[in-house]
């Protein structure tokens, strides 16, 4: 290896392995990445500014949902919770359960999309197809509960927009059971498929020290053995009532991240089933009066990790400040660290396993 010169391989802003515009430039030697340059600002639209200038506070929930289509529900829920805090409203149990149900269903479909996309980027088309096929179960459930597949604008200030009746609840219950069987089959595949383990195990390792030092969040941190989860740290939602359990892994590679996601899918299925079985009776919307005044902070565990909302109002219709900190933003340094030393051929799979959400990051 007597040569020190490197090849630059760009990945993005438009690339087939990417869903979103983000430009990486890899410095490689023999396809081994030695340095990474990331440019994540392509999706910046100015949502925060618009939330504090153009839109009134009751419209903002719809706008912040468009920060990211994958975790739209967590964005709007966080915002709504913050505003409700400022307005002095607290959730009734039924509203809390319904919101929690949607957050967990969203987590399931987001994790499944990540698994599918990782498989596709590792060149396993059939697995992609299989997971996408099973993901449709969740998508249909979401449609049956909220009326839309992706951007469902379900949460509103004071409550939620649609109720579920007993028939839908039973349907959700049975479909989730069906989904669990399919995912169990999938879990076996990750164990037995030899090529999959070659592409996943020991690839893209993020050590525990790096995870701590570089502020990794969510499933990525938990896959490295860092047990952080907002769901266990806050009591915004009554997670302890529905069977929440933190899922961690120690290896820190792609495989560990996949397994943490799979375990969380199981946990979310269990929680969702508990929710629809034991859902309390009550109204789905509360009367809300007044305008937000003061400052509120809300943290929620989105599929990718902790999402953080700061809302500040001074009694006007238009808010003073909406600050959004998203999990991918924190995870990017860890992602870059993980790329270094990997093969370029593994880069798309590593990238997908981090499940980055650039439109969250750039807002």
């Amino acid at each position: 290896m007597s040569d020190t010169k490197t090849v630059q391989i760009p990945l993005g802003s438009q690339h087939i392995a990417l869903l979103e515009p983000v430009a990486f430039t890899f410095q490689t030697q023999n396809e081994r990445i030695i340095a990474v340059d990331a440019d994540v600002g392509f999706v910046h639209r100015g949502v925060e500014r618009a939330c504090a200038s153009t839109f009134t506070f009751d419209q903002v929930a719809t706008v912040v949902a468009r920060v990211c289509g994958l975790c739209a529900i967590t964005h709007s829920t966080s915002y709504v919770l913050a505003v409700e805090e400022l307005l002095g409203v607290s959730m009734t149990p039924r509203i809390a359960y319904l919101r929690m149900l949607m957050v967990e269903l969203d987590r399931i479909h987001s994790h499944m999309l990540c698994l599918a996309h990782t498989a596709e980027n590792a060149g396993f088309e059939a697995l992609f197809m299989q997971i996408m096929h099973e993901r449709e179960i969740v998508m249909r459930l979401q449609e049956s509960i909220t009326g839309n597949r992706v951007q469902f604008d379900y949460v509103t200030i004071g409550g939620v927009n649609r109720d579920i009746d007993a028939m839908v609840a039973a349907h959700v219950d049975s479909e989730l059971s069906r989904l669990r069987e399919k995912i169990e089959h999938l879990y076996g595949l990750f164990d037995t498929n030899i090529t999959l383990s070659r592409r996943y195990q020991g690839i893209g390792v993020l050590s525990l020290e790096d995870a701590m030092k570089l502020n990794a969040l969510g499933p990525i941190a938990r896959a490295s053995g860092l047990a952080i989860d907002v769901r266990s740290q806050t009591s915004t939602f009554p997670y302890h009532e529905v069977g929440y359990a933190i899922q961690t892994h120690t290896a820190g590679d792609i495989d560990a991240r996949n397994r943490v996601r799979l375990a969380e899918i199981f946990n979310s299925i269990e929680m969702s089933q508990n929710i629809v079985r034991n859902i309390p009776e009550g109204e789905i919307i509360q009367k809300v009066r007044g305008k937000p005044n003061g400052q509120a902070i809300v943290r929620i565990e989105a599929p990718r990790g902790e999402i953080f909302y700061l809302v500040r109002g001074s009694g006007n219709k238009i808010l003073d400040r909406v600050r959004i900190k998203t999990p991918t933003f924190s995870t990017i340094p860890a992602m870059i660290r993980t790329f270094e030393g990997s093969m370029y051929a593994d880069a798309p799979a590593i990238l997908a396993s981090f499940d980055p959400c650039m439109s969250c990051t750039a807002k």
Binding site: S2, K5, V7, S13, Q14, T25, N30
Partner: protein, 622 residues
């Protein structure tokens, strides 16, 4: 049964005279009519003597025009001789014998002095050993009756290679050395050395008396020592000394062979040895000399060290002269060696050496380094073909020698051009060369293709090596290993050659066009044309000729289209993910770790020792 009608083996033997005939008959009309009609003996003496005369002449009168004319004559002489089929020999003569002995003594004394001057005691010790053996031989061994010089089939091929390719290299070197930072006398001396080297080689391929052979063998060692050390730098001196002592080992082996032959009552004539006078041990010792000269794997370092010399020297060593002695020697001795257990052992060594050299070249970062390892690999293939010793494989070894000489010379000269025009030696400095000098680089691509791919020259050797080895595979399981290493090596060579291309084309901004002077471009053109013509002529009568012709026609048509018909389509920019980023280029290197390489080196050393031990045991038991 469309293609089966034309079989492979039928036409091989017909080819050589046909090639030679077409070559000479077309060229001789214009250039060498006189030369062609003179007697064979005159022609031979002309070939042997004229390089020396030219060398002295150029030292005295450095006129480039005269030199070019003389070189043309020399090349034409090599071609003309190629056509003849009669055998020729020169009987031994008392005076010459004493002259040879005197020169031998002089040379060995010089080696001692060289070793003493630089305090390199290895060289001194080896020279001392040689002197002792030499004295023993001169005292003990009688002269007997035999041929001093002998024109064999292989000699004809070698004379063609030495004089045809060598003349072009010298013509290139005259211009190349002009830009070197040395005084005028040194420049003249450089050209004279190269010419003298050719003279030594011309005589060596004819030698039949073994002490003459030894003298010439050591003279090539001396010539390479002088030429490698021409740039009087620390590294150059060290590498020159390494080349010296390694090749001296070969000399010791030859003298050892003579002594053993004396002990067993054999004469001092090579044709006698091959005919069965000498025991296996003698032949094995000669093979050791060949392995060292051919830079086979444990001895590869001297050839790679030779890279510090000016590029024409590398070209000369790699293509036309020095290392070609090795397959030539194997060709001489193969009939007495091929079907023995030692022969099998040597096949294995050569196969492994070929595979490892082509693998090792994958890590080289200089163009000359890559070419050096590829030479080692192809030399092993030549020796392997020669050693298999079927009529077809012997021919193929010679064919490979010819095509390798032309292709390698072309590549080395191109490396020299790059060195002179761009001052680049490392591969990463050679980006975008294609836009700078398209024709030269097209020649380089052609040369690379000619060394591996159908329908060009060297491919036939690769092909027939596989065929010949498959023919001997039955009942000899180790042959599977030899075969496998040849096959793997040929795949690795494709990788080695064509990964070079990645940089030649790679540039985002077209660089400025570089025009070459005639002194550079004419030898290149001759070599390229020669390689192409020889390929074409070779094809015309080969098996599956029409398939090959079709391929060749296709390639030519494509090249013509590229060159002249700028296709009527809109030009587009390359895809860069929607971005316009600047890109740096490099090329890939492949390695599986230093540890494994070191263990391979040990393996080769162990194999060589085993070879020696086996040879001794067999020799003793006889």
């Amino acid at each position: 049964m469309l293609l089966a009608n034309l079989r492979w083996g039928k036409n091989v033997e017909k080819m050589r005279p046909i090639i030679a005939g077409v070559f000479t008959k077309s060229i001789s009309i214009f250039v060498i009519k006189e030369c062609y009609t003179v007697s064979m003996q005159t022609l031979l003496f002309f070939l042997i003597l004229s390089p020396w005369i030219m060398a002295v002449g150029y030292l005295v009168v450095p006129n480039r025009g005269v030199l070019y004319g003389a070189l043309a004559l020399l090349g034409a002489g090599g071609l003309a001789l190629f056509d003849t089929t009669t055998s020729w020999q020169l009987s031994i003569n008392e005076t010459i014998v004493y002259l040879i002995a005197f020169l031998d003594a002089l040379l060995l004394g010089y080696f001692v002095w060289v070793g003493y001057r630089v305090r390199h005691w290895g060289v001194v010790a080896l020279a001392a050993v040689q002197i002792v053996m030499f004295v023993l031989i001169e005292v003990l061994l009688g002269h007997g009756e035999g041929a001093l010089l002998l024109l064999r089939e292989a000699s004809q091929w070698m004379l063609l290679i030495i004089n045809g390719v060598g003349a072009l290299i010298v013509a290139f070197a005259v211009v190349y050395i002009e830009a070197e930072a040395v005084d005028a006398v040194q420049k003249r001396r450089f050209v004279a050395y190269l010419l003298a080297f050719m003279g030594v080689m011309n005589l060596l391929v004819l030698a039949n008396e073994v002490m003459l052979f030894f003298l010439l063998f050591e003279l090539t060692t001396l010539a390479s020592f002088v030429l490698i050390g021409f740039r009087d730098e620390e590294e150059a001196r060290a590498n020159a000394l390494r080349a010296l002592w390694m090749n001296q080992l070969g000399g010791v082996a030859i003298l050892g062979a003579v002594l053993v032959a004396y002990a067993q009552g054999a004469s001092r004539y090579i044709d006698g040895w091959v005919a069965g006078e000498a025991s296996l041990l003698v032949v094995a010792l000669m093979m050791v000399a060949a392995l060292i000269k051919g830079a086979t794997m444990p001895f590869d370092r001297w050839l790679l060290g030779a890279m510090v010399a000016p590029t024409p020297v590398s070209a000369m060593l790699h293509s036309a002269t020095m290392v070609k002695i090795a397959p030539f020697m194997v060709l001489l001795f193969a009939p007495a060696f091929s079907h023995t257990a030692l022969g099998g052992m040597m096949l294995l060594m050569l196969g492994f050496s070929m595979a490892f050299a082509s693998y090792r070249g994958l890590q080289e970062a200089t163009l000359k380094g890559v070419l050096g390892y590829s030479t080692i690999a192809l030399l092993a293939l030549m020796m392997l073909l020669a050693l298999i010793d079927t009529p077809q494989s012997r021919t193929m070894a010679l064919v490979l020698m010819l095509f390798h000489a032309m292709g390698k010379a072309l590549l080395f000269l191109i490396a020299g051009v790059i060195e002179r025009t761009l001052h680049a030696k490392r591969l990463d400095a050679m980006q975008g060369l294609f836009s700078a000098m398209p024709w030269v680089m097209l020649g380089a691509v052609g040369a690379l293709m000619s060394l591996t791919l159908p329908p060009f020259g060297a491919f036939w050797a690769k092909y027939s090596a596989i065929v010949a080895l498959a023919g001997r595979i039955d009942g000899a399981a180790y042959m599977v290993l030899v075969l496998a290493s040849v096959i793997i090596a040929s795949a690795l060579l494709v990788l080695l050659y064509f990964k070079l291309l990645s940089l030649f084309f790679a540039t985002q901004n077209p660089t400025q066009r570089i025009t070459l002077s005639w002194g550079y471009s004419v030898p290149l053109m001759f070599l390229a044309a020669g390689a192409l013509m020889a390929s074409v002529l070779y094809l015309a009568w080969g098996a599956y000729a029409y398939v090959a012709w079709g391929l060749l026609a296709l390639l030519v048509v494509l090249l013509l289209l590229v060159a002249w018909l700028r296709l009527g389509f809109d030009r587009a920019t390359v895809y860069g993910c929607g971005e316009r980023t600047s890109v740096t280029w490099s090329q890939n290197f492949y390695s599986f770790g230093v540890d494994i390489e070191r263990s391979f080196t040990w393996l080769f050393g162990a194999m060589f020792v085993a070879f020696l031990v086996m040879a001794t045991l067999l020799g003793v038991s006889l």
